[in-house]
Symmetry: C2
Subunit: 396 residues, 2 copies
């Protein structure tokens, strides 16, 4: 049963979602070094930072220098967040290399939580809704044929509690009705989660209901925060109910850092760790184009720059070894500490001298087969151990 997965596109948010909640004194040089490393990983979409008020976000005060001095990699889309026309104007001065971040579709969207939108952007929910007629009128004016609907704080809020999926659907239904009246097709749906209220069950239910209600929607965007460790499971839940006709846009950050000062969780907010999420996609056969090993270098660099350990896992245990050159030594000694675990990148020196408890060296007929280029197990039952002459027979 090979599952037919959707096309997944991924946007790396570490330089924006990550850096905006870290120390404002991190140097421009350090940030440029990290950004340039990210460019070499194969990531196709990277947010470089945001053009926002340096008064409230001093971490982004020197974004101009970063954009001027980093080394754009051909083929990579670089974008920056801007929350108002002043920010967009500032960003436009650097395009190219920046792509001025535009939604592919004109979109009606608002927050289900009126507190967060006010705290984060100093606007009200009603101000968000007030823009909808204008967005529709502009779309009609230029003859746009396809549009989007969307919601932020889709599943709950730290200030208002849980939102049932029914509320989300009611909001989307209303937006869809407005596009219907305008005679413009809706093909895209965006769901944001700034306060980490996503769960895989709710994301799966939401995506499923949107698809059932409006089968012509085949483009989904999920911006999931990870304060309750649900972002990866939620992303998987979305992938599994989408099909090859669908596109899923996901965001996350190397190491899983990130957050904002407005949501109430600060640095404990986080996003899905890019390296863990993309490594999962590798395993599922969803193309990412990203070199996990280089991504791990970026995580280690980010940890050095921000001065604390991040919570992503693949950077600590290493990727699942799947090729002969990556398999662990079957006679390696005890590996106990986090430092010793880094042998996957640093080599056997880091665990040398560890306890070796075996009287006889370990041997493995399976590993012998693999070293000869064969699979560990054959494909038929008759190739399994109980029928292999290279394994001892049971006495009984």
């Amino acid at each position: 049963m090979p599952q037919q997965w959707p096309t997944v596109t991924y946007k790396e948010e570490g330089m924006r979602e990550g850096m905006q909640i870290e120390d404002a004194n991190i140097t421009v040089d350090d940030k440029i070094e990290l950004l340039d490393m990210l460019s070499e990983t194969g990531l196709s979409s990277i947010v470089v930072g945001s053009f926002v008020s340096p008064k409230w976000t001093p971490q982004m005060e020197r974004i101009d220098e970063i954009v001027q001095r980093f080394t754009p990699k051909p083929g990579v889309t670089y974008s920056a967040l801007a929350l108002n026309s002043r920010g967009v104007e500032r960003a436009r001065a650097y395009s190219p290399p920046l792509t001025i971040e535009r939604d592919k579709y004109p979109r009606l969207s608002c927050h289900l939580c009126d507190v967060f939108v006010r705290r984060n952007t100093n606007r009200t929910q009603m101000q968000e809704m007030e823009r909808w007629p204008e967005i529709i009128a502009q779309a009609q004016e230029v003859g746009i044929k396809e549009s989007g609907i969307g919601c932020n704080a889709s599943w709950g809020s730290n200030f208002l509690g849980e939102f049932p999926v029914d509320s989300l659907m009611t909001l989307l239904e209303y937006q869809h009705g407005l596009w219907d009246e305008a005679g413009i097709k809706v093909v895209s749906c965006s769901m944001g989660d700034p306060m980490s209220h996503c769960t895989p069950a709710k994301v799966e239910e939401s995506v499923t209901r949107v698809k059932e209600r409006w089968p012509e929607i085949n483009h989904f965007r999920l911006h999931l925060h990870n304060g309750r460790n649900m972002a990866i499971a939620s992303a998987y839940a979305a992938m599994r109910v989408l099909g090859p006709e669908d596109t899923l846009e996901l965001d996350g950050t190397i190491g899983g850092y990130g957050g904002c000062p407005y949501c109430g969780n600060g640095r404990a907010t986080g996003m899905a760790p890019t390296e863990d999420l993309l490594h999962m996609m590798d395993d599922m056969g969803i193309p990412t184009g990203v070199d996990i090993d280089k991504l791990i270098d970026c995580v280690w660099a980010a940890e050095r720059i921000i001065g604390r350990e991040l919570y992503g896992h693949v950077s600590k245990a290493g990727p699942r070894p799947r090729t002969v050159d990556k398999l662990y030594d079957i006679n390696m000694p005890f590996v106990e500490t986090m430092g010793q675990a880094l042998h996957f990148k640093k080599g056997s020196e880091v665990y040398e001298g560890g306890i070796y408890p075996y009287r006889e060296p370990i041997t493995s007929p399976y590993r012998d087969r693999i070293d000869q280029g064969l699979p560990a197990f054959g494909t038929g039952a008759n190739e399994f151990p109980w029928n292999q002459d290279w394994l001892p027979k049971a006495d009984s």
Copy 2:
């Protein structure tokens, strides 16, 4: 579409999987304090440690003292790991309070990876298989009617690479055939993952195929490690393909610590953080009986005792607030640091003096409704903001 979830039972492995890879000098007093705290959380099944050779696992050298001195809570099942008859004998001296850990069903099981079983238990895969005829004979002798099949290192190995689900199914098929020959029904299937090769896609495929092949199997056990951050997503993937007729047994550790020195990942191995996984189940409506707040106290205690930060998330950002008394202050100042984020437990003192960027205090008609005991949103479309007189109308 309320999903019908399986019954889920949960076993806390922190005192065993966690402590076995931490400093051997952690005191008995500290361990007993943590164990007694765990007993008060509502967890129904707790592993207290293991009876193994103190030569290779000095962390468990003083397990006898712990078992003698901890305070058993009525209704909680306490168990201990033993890998051989000597260990079982030692554990039996403390029963009660210990329940000698027995599988509910006689089970045929072995590792797909012959290297790990040798490294971990100094036995060979063939020695595991050699026991099968004896297990079947004993089951027949005492007239047992229901049995289990099982596999460890089910999806891959750090020493042999990835195993396709086909290999797992071939092994299970063979075991099932042996029970069939003996005329004993198979109702349970166990899948272990000591080397963190699980992914949600593979777990979902495996559980689905077992259920399709043998519909009478309605009892599943998953022991998932988390070195690649896939344990929670994999547990969710299993829950969603099981139904109310099924039982799913899951294991994990507070904070997500744990591992063994044999797998090659040491402390970077980990398991699903109990607090994050059970909080997800709370949200899904799967009963856990566990007080997440008390569980977070345990995580903090564990971090103090082992002297490092763990990677679970709910202990840092706090649970999703869902009741009026837990909702955040809508006029709270900036929350930036990990320390400030702990306000959910430590109170507003931890963020006092933070930046407050708003000229006018934030107000929220939704929050007013909630404070009055109403839902934020009504259930009908006509109760939504655009039809509410308590929200300003759009100008347009």
